[in-house]
Amino acid sequence: MSRDLSRWTVLLGMGVLGLFFLTSAAHADTSESSSNTFTRVLFLQDYTTRNVLIGTTLLGMSGGVVGVFMLLRKRSLIADVVGHSALPGIVLAFLLTQVFQPGSGRNVPLLMLGAALAGLLGALFVVLIEGNSRIKADAAMAIVLSTFYGIGSALLTVTQRMPEQAVAGLKNYLNGQPAAMDRSDVYLIAVSSAILFGLTLLLFKELTLLCFDSEFAAADGWPVFRLDILLTGLVVGITILGMQSVGLLLVVAVLVIPAASARFWTNRIRLMTFLSAALGGLAAAVGTALSATFPHIAAGAVIVLAGTALFLVSLIFGRERGILWSWLEARRLQAKVGQHDLLRAAYESIEAQKNATESRTVNESDLLNTIVSIKELTDARSWSEARVRQLLQRAVQHQLLEPAGYGWHLTPEGADRARRAVRNHRLWELYLITFADVAPSHVDRAADRIEHILEADVIRKLEARLAAQQTAAMWQSPHD
């Protein structure tokens, strides 16, 4: 089920990306100057673009670091709440400046302050609703997010009637407009990013503990509630820094996508944080460069989609949990299991042909010279003939079986492996019967799957434990 889901996600993502690149390419054909712009962006020749590029890259990196803890605390959506809740704060701050200083235009630091306060207020409401009613976190977030955004939209329509030029800029905060960033904005982003970055690294140990086991942390005397507020504060910080470049509606992506991508590559939180920062910075840089080349596409969207592209690459190729590696792993295991089962079936068929008993086990020459037919193998388990032929073909390739007469016989290598597979299998069966209350008739199928996973030292232990009570009988199938 979840496998299918992830496959569909991949297909969908690929489709979206394809569409995106197609439109970009079509656009590149019609615009003669775009390749020129691209080289200028690439080599940082353009002063404004360079500023913007530095600003967004720093934002992407610090977003990646903060996002790791957001993701691991399982509160990713709070970033979306903060982003949407910030809108009324911005508009109110703007309206207030117009009341007290008419015609003064946009005061960016003041707008950011408004955004930060409203964003924090939104996050606080979520906590209050969740803690004081029976409403669950997802519903609480949806309620707060839509309410705040609704208020913001309503206020925004009020400002539309105002004559000031500055009003036009307010809407840019929704979807981002990195080109509008000036030098002081970039300075602000650089300094704030460094602070957010430093705070997160300084509190790395504390935040890790909070995310892994908050109850233990609380019992151990750590101020869990305040750490959570601090983490929310970091998210608010990223949100207001990102509102100029990626916009309030998409800022959640800057936090979540790099962290989620990094998780596919590693099981170590330190490396994950480093990778997340790198991926976040890379996505933001590539996105900014692309959006400078194709100015007709919303810049915030381009940055987010560049992150999505990296996410898809990670989802498929990620070393620790990427789809490709798990698929290859599953295939390898399947092939190994199939081969063992085939060899075991061949061994058991030889046993049956030779009427092996407890006192007389099959010997080397029996194993090497007895011919096994395809019918005997098909009958041995619930295999189709096609499956048996496929397994046989692979076994012949690996020189475990050789065609002979009306069937196949084992090679010395194959006989050796068959003996080992049968031994492991019966040891395991015997173990299950002896030590666990498993009905003997139910043992076989469970044992089939587990014997391929048993490690060598476990097998040695089993042998030692069982040798005492079962000596010769080890070679006999216990449920015959």
Partner: protein
């Protein structure tokens, strides 16, 4: 139980504690003093409030009324003398840290704010892992450990804390025989070192074997004291009511003098 004199040396004193979730009381009027240097089992049916009792002591859930002191002082001032082992299922084991990282978390208070986990602390965490037989798995990611191994990692983290009072929530739940043996050995070594442990325990068969004292709980305190005096068929029936088919069997065992 008569109203006890709450002693300063007592590792844990609970006085008239009531805890409620959403206005529905979960445990009522608990009055209990834990004797020092003993292994104490908290036993009761599902929903009896065993975990709630532990969490309320640790201030993890709010109390409606009552007072708890640890070694004669409020819990908040005594965090460093207490170690908590939560239920294994309370955390997401698919978390990007290794067994050693988790064991080292028991040292974070000692390391302090902003401090780094240096080599000295890593070695300390490693020796905690050795005590539970997990040294070979130190660098494994925790999701790759079996349930019993995960429980032992939790135990290592608690040992690293080097506390005087241990509160464990169902450490024996769903573990293999090796882990069960390890936990029993660790508990005994803690008692030998004069430490006190309160352990939520679900298995009536092994309770008399593993523990010195028992607290029988079913929303209220049914009985508490030394195992041989308190763990009687009569008290068990009062604790579990008719809920437990196993009860008569255990009762017979106890009546037969077999513990």
């Amino acid at each position: 139980m008569s109203a006890p004199e709450h002693l300063h040396t007592c590792p844990l004193s609970i006085h008239d504690m009531t805890v409620a979730y959403q206005r529905r009381p979960v445990i009522w009027d608990i009055d209990y003093d834990a004797p020092a240097g003993q292994l104490i089992a908290i036993v009761g049916p599902n929903g009896a409030g065993k975990s709630t009792l532990v969490k309320a002591v640790l201030d993890l859930v709010p109390k409606v009324s009552g007072e708890v002191t640890v070694f004669g002082k409020p819990y908040k001032t005594q965090c460093d003398r207490v170690s908590y082992v939560p239920q294994r299922s309370s955390v997401d084991w698919d978390f990007p840290v290794s067994a050693l990282d988790v064991a080292a978390m028991g040292l974070y208070r000692k390391i302090g704010w902003f401090g780094r986990v240096t080599r000295q602390y890593r070695e300390e965490a490693m020796s905690a892992l050795e005590r539970v037989g997990m040294q070979d798995y130190a660098n494994r990611q925790i999701s790759q450990l079996s349930g019993g191994q995960q429980q032992r990692v939790f135990l290592a983290r608690a040992l690293a804390q080097d506390a005087d009072l241990y509160l464990m929530d169902e450490p024996f739940a769903g573990v293999d025989a090796t882990t069960e043996r390890t936990i029993v050995d660790i508990l005994q070594s803690l008692r030998d070192a004069g430490r006190t442990a309160l352990v939520v325990h679900h298995d009536l068969q092994t309770a008399p074997e593993y523990f010195d004292q028992v607290v029988l709980l079913n929303m209220r305190l049914v009985a508490s004291g030394p195992m041989k005096d308190v763990f009687t068929p009569e008290n068990l029936r009062r604790t579990f009511g008719g809920k437990l088919p196993l009860l008569d069997q255990v009762g017979n065992r106890m009546a037969g003098g077999n513990s």
